[in-house]
């Protein structure tokens, strides 16, 4: 039989049992589609998180007080105070290292603030002028914290858009005064709306000079020091020198933890990749189920068409041809289902994408290749047994319909 004839024969068989064909296509495509949608979700989450971190630059080091053995709880507040705090002088001393481009000391707290009888509370960050560039935030209006000696910074404050709306309403905020705790601060800038940035809602944030924030909260130690290395290559040196400088300043004791931002990114990357593979793997169980169904239907098909096979054999078809015909049928079904599944998955992505506008849902390349391939292979493998059964039929018995 020529190839065209074989294909024509298979197509005619598939068309004759339209309902059955449709159900099989549905089964395979649901499986493939599910794998694609789920891996898309996992992979997009991974990309979103790592991009978010990368946008801050991978040359970052984060220095926190206390040893890592006690900070393993993942809750910074558990650290509380160490015997030795990280101080503003510590932060200044870090500038000595030639590998370090910028140093931003930070404290974080909750401040209650008021203006003209309106009161609200908001997370407050004490920092220096370098924070704006470090976090890639933008200003909507006014200026950011002034440069210069952080110890002598004036009582000024930069506020988020929502804070401005809540406290000032229609009044002009920039240049006006705001009471934070028991002190007065002059508003010098408004942050541009950027939505959430790594768990911090920029709209509901206030930023004040770190020395003023430490007075306000009555604390002597920094929450953390952010250090930017000159380049990716000098990151190791920056980490080593930071540790060395702080050890010298802390009477030879290493009581700080230096975390590399790229190590954090790599951890997130690994965890979310593993999650994506797991979810994809669970979804591909459905492809095995689809394969079992395919095998079942092919077996039925072989027993229904016994006479037909007998006829083919009687007019001189080889065992090989029968095998090819049936494999073509199961493989073709699986292939068609896989293609439909890919489109189904992509369409689902579009629908889901409207719910999460921040994230573009797109499947990772490996799942676009692996899912249809796996479906096609399962079509061939599960089709093998029925095809063999058809090929091994005795032509005389088969023709008799036995």
């Amino acid at each position: 039989m020529r190839t065209a004839d074989s294909i024509g024969w298979v197509v005619r068989v598939l068309l004759r049992h339209r309902l059955r064909t449709l159900l099989l296509l549905l089964a395979v495509s649901v499986g493939v589609g599910a794998v694609i949608v789920l891996t898309s979700l996992g992979d997009s989450a991974r990309r979103y998180v790592t991009d978010e971190f990368r946008s801050l630059g991978t040359e970052l080091l984060i220095i926190t007080p206390g040893k890592s053995e006690t900070s393993g709880s993942g809750r910074p507040s558990f650290l509380g105070a160490t015997a030795r705090d990280l101080t503003l002088e510590d932060a200044n001393a870090l500038r000595r290292s030639s590998a370090i481009a910028a140093v931003v000391p930070m404290v974080v707290g909750e401040a209650s603030m008021s203006h003209a009888g309106r009161i609200r509370q908001a997370p407050a960050v004490g920092a220096t002028s370098g924070l704006l560039e470090l976090r890639h935030w933008k200003l909507k209006q006014g200026k950011f914290l002034p440069k210069g000696d952080p110890e002598r910074a004036p009582a000024v404050i930069v506020i988020g858009e929502k804070i401005r709306k809540d406290l000032f309403g229609t009044e002009t905020a920039v240049g006006n005064f705001l009471r934070v705790g028991d002190r007065r601060f002059r508003v010098i800038g408004i942050l541009a709306t950027e939505g959430r940035s790594l768990g911090m809602d920029v709209d509901e944030l206030v930023i004040l000079p770190v020395a003023r924030a430490m007075e306000l909260f009555d604390i002597s130690g920094l929450y953390r020091i952010m250090v930017e290395a000159r380049s990716r290559d000098s990151l190791d040196r920056a980490a080593a020198e930071s540790t060395a400088i702080l050890r010298d300043r802390h009477q030879g004791e290493e009581d700080v933890t230096v975390i590399r931002q790229d190590a954090v990114v790599a951890t997130f990357d690994r965890v979310l990749s593993a999650l994506t593979y797991t979810v994809g793997g669970i979804a591909s169980i459905s492809l095995v189920v689809a394969g079992v169904l395919l095998m079942n239907v092919m077996l039925v098909s072989v027993s229904q068409r016994t006479a037909e096979i007998g006829l083919l054999k009687a007019i001189g078809s080889s065992r090989r041809l029968i095998l090819t015909l049936f494999l073509l049928e199961s493989g073709g079904l699986a292939f068609l289902g896989a293609v439909l599944g890919v489109f189904l998955g992509l369409a689902m992505n579009e629908v889901l994408g409207t719910y999460v506008p921040d994230v573009t849902l797109s499947p990772p390349l490996w799942s676009m290749i692996a899912a249809p391939t796996f479906a096609f292979l399962s079509g061939i493998i599960f089709g093998l047994m029925p095809a063999r059964r058809a090929a091994d039929l005795d032509p005389v018995d088969a023709l008799a319909g036995r």
């Binding site: 105070a81 028991d182 039925v300």
Partner: protein, 399 residues
């Protein structure tokens, strides 16, 4: 048709297509196995988390400084809000039903004993802390009930710290230096183990007033109230809130009852478990399509048989029931096999990786079996209706 005949008919038609039926059941079985195994793992993790959190007892209310409404920064860490003080904690003892009050502050410092030293967690706690956190004193006694700032310099060691600092010899009455302040050891805690990566045994407990001055802090990190079993968490929390509002003039603190927290945690984990189950459900759906396909084929194949039954006087209802029963039996059998494999698989995972908690609630087992039967019913309806609607004359002629 007698019930016995009915059953025999169903059974014979299933047995005559053993391979076909087996494969159909296998499809459902794999789906059910996936769902059961995943929910077992999910609900195991859920149970594990809730147990971890409730090992301190469920009758605890925590009060933190600062009010969280925007879940921004770590609230209550430092702040310009009025701090919670030892006097606040003292006042909270008046709340009805409250048995114990622990003013809590925590830090990290170097602890020395003789020539040995270790950097470890320092907990400033009240004398009730072991009852509140349901921890036991192994030897010695708890911290004394010294009210106010006149607390004596005594300490209770965690079991890991004891091993590190005093590997042998007596420990009670010994001196330790916490950040170069001298303390006398009066007790050692029983081992509590780790919770979510935080080691409770590696630490030292000293009176709160001492810890506050040691870390130069004005305010407490937390006040924990321990109330009588059976008292309403909400009533106690409200009473505590009233007292503190009266003292502070405003609600600049957050009250969380352990009960609420556990409920939230349980809810979140429950949603996660269902999400995981839904993943397995995809396979189940494909298995259901399998039943639909095979039953459709069966109806077409057995037109002649249906025609004969109808000619012999079987009602459309009986034919309908016949095919429905076949679908239900197939999927229930597959479901049952899947159930066994799923439970077995989950426990196998637990056996190979003992850290993975596994829990198979009986409700899930019944639900899974019921689900497979319902799937059979739902997928059998369409083909069965088609069989029942066959015209007996036409059907007979097809033979």
């Amino acid at each position: 048709m007698a019930t016995r005949d009915f059953l025999r008919l169903v059974l014979r038609s299933l047995l005559s297509h053993r391979l076909r039926g087996g494969l159909t059941a296998l499809g459902i079985g794999i789906g059910i196995a996936a769902v059961v195994m995943l929910t077992s793992l999910g609900s195991g993790v859920q149970k594990f988390m809730v147990e971890e959190f409730s090992q301190f007892g469920t009758t605890i209310i925590a009060i933190n400084p600062g009010r969280t409404h925007t879940s921004g920064g770590p609230a209550g860490l430092f702040g310009s809000t009025r701090p919670l003080t030892l006097e606040d904690a003292e006042a909270l003892k008046r709340v009805p039903h409250v048995i114990g009050v622990v003013p809590f502050v925590m830090g990290n410092a170097e602890v020395e004993a003789g020539t040995r030293q270790r950097r470890t967690a320092v907990h400033g706690v009240g004398s009730d802390f072991h009852t509140v956190f349901s921890m036991n004193i192994q030897i010695g006694q708890p911290l004394p009930d010294d009210s106010g700032s006149g607390a004596r310099p005594v300490a209770v060691l965690g079991s890991t710290l004891r091993k590190e600092l005093f590997p042998e010899g007596p420990v009670l009455g010994q001196r330790v230096r916490v950040a170069s302040e001298a303390y006398r050891v009066v007790g050692v805690m029983e081992s509590k183990g780790q919770m979510l990566g935080f080691d409770f045994d590696d630490g030292i407990y000293i009176p709160t007033a001492r810890a506050l001055s040691l870390f130069d802090k004005r305010g407490l990190m937390e006040i924990d109230l321990f109330y009588e079993e059976g008292a309403s968490a909400k009533e106690v929390a409200d009473a505590a809130e009233r007292i503190l509002v009266a003292r502070h003039g405003q609600a600049d603190f957050t009250v969380t009852s352990q009960e609420d927290m556990l409920k939230v945690l349980d809810g979140i984990m429950g949603v996660l478990t269902s999400a995981v189950a839904a993943l397995g459900g995809i396979s189940l759906f494909v298995g259901a399509v399998g039943i639909l396909t095979i039953m459709t084929i069966a109806v077409r194949e057995r037109q002649g048989e249906v025609g004969l039954l109808r000619a012999l006087g079987a009602s459309t209802q009986q034919v309908l029931l016949l095919f429905l029963a076949e679908a239900v039996v197939l999927s229930s059998l597959g479901g049952f096999a899947g159930l066994l494999v799923g439970i077995g698989g989950a426990w196998l995972v637990h056996w190979v990786f003992p850290i993975v908690p596994v829990n198979t609630p009986w409700a899930y087992v019944f639900a899974a079996e019921l689900l497979s039967a319902v799937i059979g019913l739902a997928c059998g309806v369409l083909p069965a209706l088609r069989a029942a609607a066959l015209d007996p004359v036409v059907a007979l002629r097809a033979e």
